[in-house]
Symmetry: none
Subunit: 251 residues, 2 copies
């Protein structure tokens, strides 16, 4: 399994999770979908600054798909300043380039930065229609840019939350055991070698390798077909069966 | 701006974009939202296998937020095989671990793999309620796993499309130049399907699948042996030759 250095300095685990701050969100649906995205990625600290339709909001619960606990514990604030008072670093999310003179990181760089520290970090997301205002961005230390198709950068609020939370999750969990073991035991090399030797002998007996000067390369090519990925012991037996049946031994 | 080796060998630009194959999608809303996510990430080849509510679908256009062009050009198919006939490599997306013996990559590993080559690749996404069936996964070469919170892995369809498309975009835009093409052209799926159909028919004629209740699973296992990694067109011919010689046709 290939190992990817998606974030070279990422911590193995994180103690302090970032909080997601939705600034003046308009639709309850999007708040609920954002909570679901947070739950998918293991985040749980949701803060709302002046939600347009008040709080709690029934539509949010409809869209949350089981992330009710996050909604139940969401905290409500009047201002970005109050919502991020306990954060040592605040990021302002945007999908388009902004003119403010402020450090800017990509979502992936954000995840790497955050996973190096153990401090409370806040991520601001602006309202659906126009994103964060310049004044709201001014409250942040750093702009967090989600790199998208520059011709169609407009992301749904919950999708923006998902991408940032996803990057956080990738950086904060180790990539190593992403797949787990295959459910079937893999065949030791000797089993595969036996199978291939048998196949080559069968083909040889039938005149498959007819041109002497190509013989070695052909055998290599045949073997490569079956050694391109690990075979399980059961697959090796299946291949023995296939060879036997094609030869007609068990007819 | 910090530079991240998210994918060390990824190509600077890609000529061939992956296609997104939604398999038996249930809600037009999700098809539209998936198209929007594709557009956000610069993908445009959308294929639908048996959409439940027919096609075209008004709700899809409502949710597409300007991705109408992708919906206008969406192609409709009866089966996964038909939808991916021109793909040299097919990935089956899942958010939970599967038991099938098949290579598995994370979304980020997928993006790195794909950006190294210049071949048509298909990404399967299952229906909203249950994801891909085992038979649908069997059509794929590789399982594409989106690593999520294991306690809450259930992603909305459009969000799954977004995460995979986002990883593709990150790998295909900002990183190092690639390592060059594989030496031999890879076989499109229809060539591999023809080979496997022939092998299954030959085995069937010889009584290989003798226990009726195990037949489907055995066929899937046989196919999985040969779809675990992409085969070149030359390897497919070699396998045709092997089958013919084992059967003794050319003795």
């Amino acid at each position: 399994m290939m190992r990817l250095p998606g974030c070279l300095a990422a911590a193995e685990t994180m103690n302090v999770k970032p909080c997601v701050v939705l600034v003046r969100p308009q639709m309850g649906d999007n708040i609920g979908a954002a909570a679901r995205a947070m739950m998918n990625c293991g985040l749980d600290d949701l803060r709302l600054v002046g939600p347009r339709d008040g709080w709690p909001n029934d539509r949010a619960y409809v869209l949350a798909s089981g992330a009710d606990r996050i909604l139940d514990h969401a905290k409500i604030y009047d201002s970005v300043g109050a919502a991020t008072a306990d954060c040592v670093h605040v990021y302002a999310t945007t999908a388009r380039q902004r003119e403010q003179v402020k450090p800017e990181v990509s979502a992936r760089e954000f995840a790497c930065e955050v996973s190096k520290h153990n401090d409370k970090v806040g991520i601001l997301f602006g309202k659906e229609s126009v994103g964060l205002s310049n004044d709201e961005i001014a409250e942040a230390n750093t702009i967090l840019h989600i790199p998208m198709n520059p011709e169609h950068f407009s992301l749904n609020l919950a999708q923006a939350v998902l991408l940032v939370a996803y990057e956080w999750r990738q950086a904060s969990t180790s990539f190593e055991p992403s797949v787990g073991k295959p459910p079937q035991p893999l065949a030791p090399k000797r089993e595969v070698d036996l199978l291939l030797d048998r196949l080559v002998a069968d083909l040889d007996a039938r005149g498959f390798f007819v041109v002497p000067e190509k013989r070695d390369r052909m055998i290599r090519n045949v073997k490569n077909i079956f050694t391109g990925r690990p075979l399980t012991s059961r697959e090796v037996s299946t291949l023995h069966g296939i060879i036997a049946f094609l030869k007609g031994q068990d007819k």
